[in-house]
């Protein structure tokens, strides 16, 4: 039977919202990891019961959690509590009979300074500042192997696990790119927040960093090319510079990995050549500032954004929460308002807090900093809140389970 599972990361824990294919009656479980910031959770496309979660805290650092049962139970990979603490004798490898010593390395995100020395990037005031790991912003499981997952981190770098999260290894040539000294943090830090894997070629990956811009690899992360031509940003000395742009989010439809849609700090952009060049598609939007952007599951030219008033006023224009939909791949946008508050609404919707399911009609989901998670089961025509009073929502992902 078809089911929908919405994975919600908040400032104070994780929640999982589930419904059947009608998407009418929702049940809410959580909070998981109560009191911690859950920057992101995402399930493996090949094994939906395998979910990775980024649990972070300014006090106690980065934790990676993993579920193998669709979010019912969680463990830190490599150190399951039951095996290790309560019944140490069970920590025996069934094949070799040897005792497996847990290493506690699922939380270890150490820059690969052997291959790429630790360099510096721009600080907010333009001075140089050393790279410092803060947290994992985004987890992107492989499209083919549930034990492979990418992690985008702050300060910007890309890590990968090939053992289900037990250990993480940097792909250091992105951080070590020659343009690194020109990268700078956005207001939320210098995070790598977007990871898009080409469905036709797992070695072709797009990433985006605030505020460095977007980059593409064709060889699984060995070499990276900045792909920001056409982006214009007034907050850098050369508005057309190769790097330094505050890309907020990039989205792609799986049928066409050369067409990319971008929500930038200002401007909604599009590329039809895999990021080689970009052009503006903001059209008649009331504001082209915003954070998330996504593409309809079955219509590659149908795109969704949530306009925000400005970079200094992070709330919807006129206090009206409106999702804007373009069915023409940009330029022409229509407001979607039915079921969304149309007065006195001053929440924000963060970059990783919108997702689409793959049912027909396509479901759209987004979460707000006011703790609401809104869902539309008809491509955005009408909306209903699934929950209203969660902590501030940091991320929303959805799993369609058949």
């Amino acid at each position: 039977m078809t089911a929908i599972r919405v994975l919600v990361g908040t400032k104070k824990g994780a929640f999982i919202l589930t419904a059947d294919g009608k998407r009418k009656d929702w049940s809410v479980s959580g909070p998981f990891f109560a009191g911690w910031e859950i920057y992101h959770m995402k399930g493996s496309p090949v094994d939906p019961d395998r979910i990775y979660a980024s649990q972070t805290s300014s006090w106690f650092g980065q934790i990676i959690q993993r579920s193998n049962d669709g979010g019912k139970t969680w463990e830190q990979p490599g150190t399951p509590r039951e095996d290790w603490v309560e019944n140490q004798t069970s920590g025996v490898d069934p094949e070799t009979g040897e005792f497996i010593m847990p290493k506690g390395e699922s939380n270890k995100f150490a820059y690969d300074t052997a291959r790429r020395p630790l360099t510096t990037h721009q600080w907010y005031d333009g001075t140089q500042h050393p790279w410092e790991f803060a947290r994992v912003w985004h987890l992107e499981p492989s499209l083919h192997d549930p034990d492979v997952c990418y992690a985008g981190v702050e300060d910007a770098a890309l890590f990968r696990t090939t053992d289900g999260g037990k250990s993480w290894h940097e792909l250091p040539n992105l951080r070590g790119h020659e343009s690194g000294p020109q990268w700078q943090p956005g207001a939320g830090g210098m995070g790598l927040h977007t990871i898009l894997i080409d469905p036709k070629d797992p070695n072709r990956i797009f990433v985006a960093i605030s505020a460095a811009g977007s980059f593409r690899t064709e060889d699984g992360g060995e070499t990276w090319k900045p792909i920001n031509r056409g982006l214009v940003s007034q907050f850098i000395p050369d508005p057309n510079a190769e790097v330094g742009h505050c890309v907020h989010r990039i989205a792609m439809h799986s049928s066409n990995p050369n067409t990319l849609f971008m929500q930038k700090h200002w401007d909604v952009m599009r590329s039809d050549d895999g990021g080689e060049s970009w052009y503006e598609i903001s059209g008649d939007l009331p504001s082209d500032f915003g954070f998330p952007i996504d593409v309809h599951a079955h219509e590659p030219e149908t795109v969704y954004v949530i306009p925000i008033k400005s970079d200094s006023e992070h709330y919807p224009p006129e206090g009206k929460l409106r999702v804007y939909r373009s069915r023409t791949g940009g330029h022409e946008w229509e407001p979607l308002t039915k079921g969304l508050p149309q007065q006195n609404c001053y929440v924000n919707v963060l970059r990783d807090a919108m997702a689409v399911d793959s049912l027909d009609p396509c479901g759209i989901y987004f979460g707000t900093t006011g703790g609401q998670v809104y869902a539309s089961a008809n491509g955005g025509d009408t909306w209903e809140p699934i929950v209203r009073d969660l902590p501030a929502v940091l991320s929303v992902e959805v799993q369609t389970i058949r």
Binding site: S58, W59, F60, G61, R81, G104
Partner: protein, 98 residues
């Protein structure tokens, strides 16, 4: 046995209630206590001090016998009452909003 009191978030991560009791060889220091703690509970590695540099995380403090020992050298011997188990070694999350 050395007694260690962890903040609630770390007790939950490790799946424990109450104090942790650890066997630690002399001299009993911040480092030797944390080494034993991390060996017993690998999931706590990286939460109190950095995996690589072993530096204390900025918002974590250490108290012993009503004294703040956060800034004592990590290899300095702790008070005898900690080494004997008469008093617990406290790992504290700084009160800094949240």
């Amino acid at each position: 046995m050395i007694r260690v009191v962890l903040p609630q978030h770390l007790r939950r991560l490790a799946g424990i209630d109450g104090e942790v009791h650890l066997a630690v060889d002399a001299p009993v220091t911040q480092s030797s206590i944390l080494d034993a703690l991390e060996a017993r509970y690998p999931m706590l590695r990286g939460t109190v001090r950095d995996h690589v540099t072993k530096k204390r995380r900025p918002l974590v403090r250490f108290f012993a016998c009503q004294e703040d020992v956060t800034h004592e050298p990590p290899d300095a011997p702790l008070p005898a009452a900690i080494a004997s188990g008469a008093e617990p070694f406290l790992i504290i999350g700084a009160v800094a909003g949240g």
